[in-house]
Amino acid sequence: MKADGRTRAKTFGAAAALGTGGPTLALTAVVLVLFVGSLAIGPVKLSPLAVAEALAGQGSETARIIVQEIRLPRAILSVAIGGVLGLSGAALQGLLRNPLASPALFGAPQAAAFGAVLAISLGLVNVLSFALPIAAILGAFLSVFVLLAVAGRNANLLLLILAGLALSSLAGAGTSLAMNLAPNPFAVLEISFWLLGSLEDRSFRHVALALPFIVVGATLLMAQRQKFRVLALGEETAQSLGVDVERLRLLVVVGVALGVGGAVAVAGTIGFIGLVAPHLMRPLVGWDPAKLMVPSALAGAGLLTAADIAVRLIPAATDVKVGVLTAIIGVPFFLWLIVRERRALGGGVS
């Protein structure tokens, strides 16, 4: 029975995959363009030629260091982090059959930041050790796990959002408290880093720190995508088609925690990419949760890279944090979604 359900799901998948080729290709091209743009833009003006030379290992040493050691890791991180956030959003929305689900609304990045900050302020780790992403992953896992436990099986919208708000506020307060209590005279600055998120001046050490976890998390989430489609038919139907819903839930939580935790450990909390990306993609690829995954990841990667380019172009005395920009775009979007959902649910709109 189980095997039968899987085969059936796979057949569905093969048929559905045909429809998403166009948008996926176009999105890949957009992400590539943004990636190259991210290499070309920065406080030091470099001509496109100089950037190309530097990438190939030619040109002046200064340009090589700037492009290869400062801009390249930043571009890789923005694509990877944006991608895994978009994917996490699509996966959570698929799991809960609820378009308002996303890591940020569940407090996952905030909890991951709390985990990381706690590990640092207890003096357990420094910011370039592997223990940091692990602490962040534990924080993210805990928050999503608790949220799903609180919200229960047939997650009601209001319940999810309220529980998520409570969790993220708690985690944010915990982060501030842990930094304040740590013997760090720069606590206020550091808190802003953890709560606002930034990709400024990262290095390949940061990439090495985050990427393994992000890749494993993303792989885990991608592997579940056929099950989301079956799940869309309802939990009982999915169960009868051989989907172990409890196991699926756990795998998704682990996948999201790995991706978000790895991301937060090097970039701080970056919100709303996971919410916005799947929504942008739905009109393009339809409502099939399995088809939504890859485009959502690409949209997330594109959004975060674009935002990270934008913070470098905004003329400001000190750097604008990329997390600020994603929130400024994301929160109004979220409000609009709430209004729309209210209508869809017939929740008392006259």
Binding site: V44, I66, L189, D201
Partner: protein, 276 residues
């Protein structure tokens, strides 16, 4: 010229204490006034220091400070102490200073020293306030001697330097650090990069400007937070291995005081190396 005027004005502003002994009980609210007080006053005169006085990274006389009581830095415990004089910085804790003044306590405020001359003026002023101008003159004499040594050591070919703190903070042209670097015959490139009082320089800017050396506060290699991780970015560590980093602990440059003599000697040693 302006600096001299400032120094003269500051000295004139001091109401010369009638009695040579000075006030009996003095409390300090600021890390920098802590340093001046410990260096110039008699231990019996000091009734309390600021919360950071024992911070070994920032307080030059951290060891000495263990002998004294630490204050919370707020008005309450200062009021309870009823000191004869409160010394404080001009910029922080404005509300606290207002409250203390309002309750009739004499509060002497010190500006942040932006040059060696201003620091020397502060030393003289504190010397007068505590009733030991001879100690202030001796401390200033040591700074002058260190200045002379630094000038003598400076080679013809000046090394370019950028002082870089956590997260890429760079002190600009109108700072004590800048004055110290110049006095030691080093060229601070921060003014050329457009930093007047200070600001954050991106990693790219530093790499592109490529000073001969960078001046850092510590030689540590474990980043406790993201701000410190900046100084350990591979781009910086490769261009600036330990041999190209002038290590200047914060406790030597964060305040203007007698410790500037040590700071100058350190810089003079670094400036004596020939540029590659």
């Amino acid at each position: 010229m302006v600096r001299h005027l400032v120094a003269v004005l500051l000295t004139l502003l001091i109401v010369a204490p009638a009695h040579a002994a000075g006030p009996k009980r003095i409390a300090s609210l600021n890390l920098c006034t802590d340093q001046l007080l410990m260096a110039l006053a008699d231990p019996e005169q000091i009734v309390g220091l600021s919360p950071y006085a024992r911070d070994a990274d920032r307080s030059f006389m951290a060891e000495e400070a263990k002998k004294f009581r630490l204050l919370s830095g707020t008005a309450e415990d200062v009021l309870m102490l009823e000191p004869d004089l409160v010394v404080a910085g001009r910029f922080a804790r404005r509300a606290t200073r207002m409250l203390l003044k309002g309750s009739g306590l004499p509060v002497a405020e010190f500006d942040i020293a932006r040059s060696i001359a201003e620091a020397k003026a502060d030393i003289s002023r504190m010397g007068e306030l505590v009733g030991h101008p001879e100690r202030a003159a001796a401390a200033n004499g040591r700074i002058d001697a260190a200045l002379a040594r630094a000038r003598a050591a400076a080679t013809g070919h000046a090394r370019t330097v950028l002082a870089v703190s956590r997260r890429g903070w760079v002190p600009g042209g109108q700072t004590l650090t800048n004055d110290l670097l110049n006095a030691a015959g080093l060229v601070n490139i921060a003014p050329k990069l457009g930093f007047r009082t200070g600001g954050f320089a991106s990693l790219e800017t530093i790499v592109a400007a490529r000073p001969d050396d960078i001046l850092v506060a510590g030689g540590g290699d474990t980043p406790e937070d993201q701000g410190q991780a900046f100084l350990l970015h591979p781009a910086l560590t490769r261009l600036y291995p330990p041999a190209r980093r002038i290590v200047m602990p914060e406790r030597l440059t964060v305040c203007g005081g007698p410790m500037l003599a040590d700071a100058l000697d350190r810089l003079a040693a670094a400036a004596g190396r020939l540029p590659p």
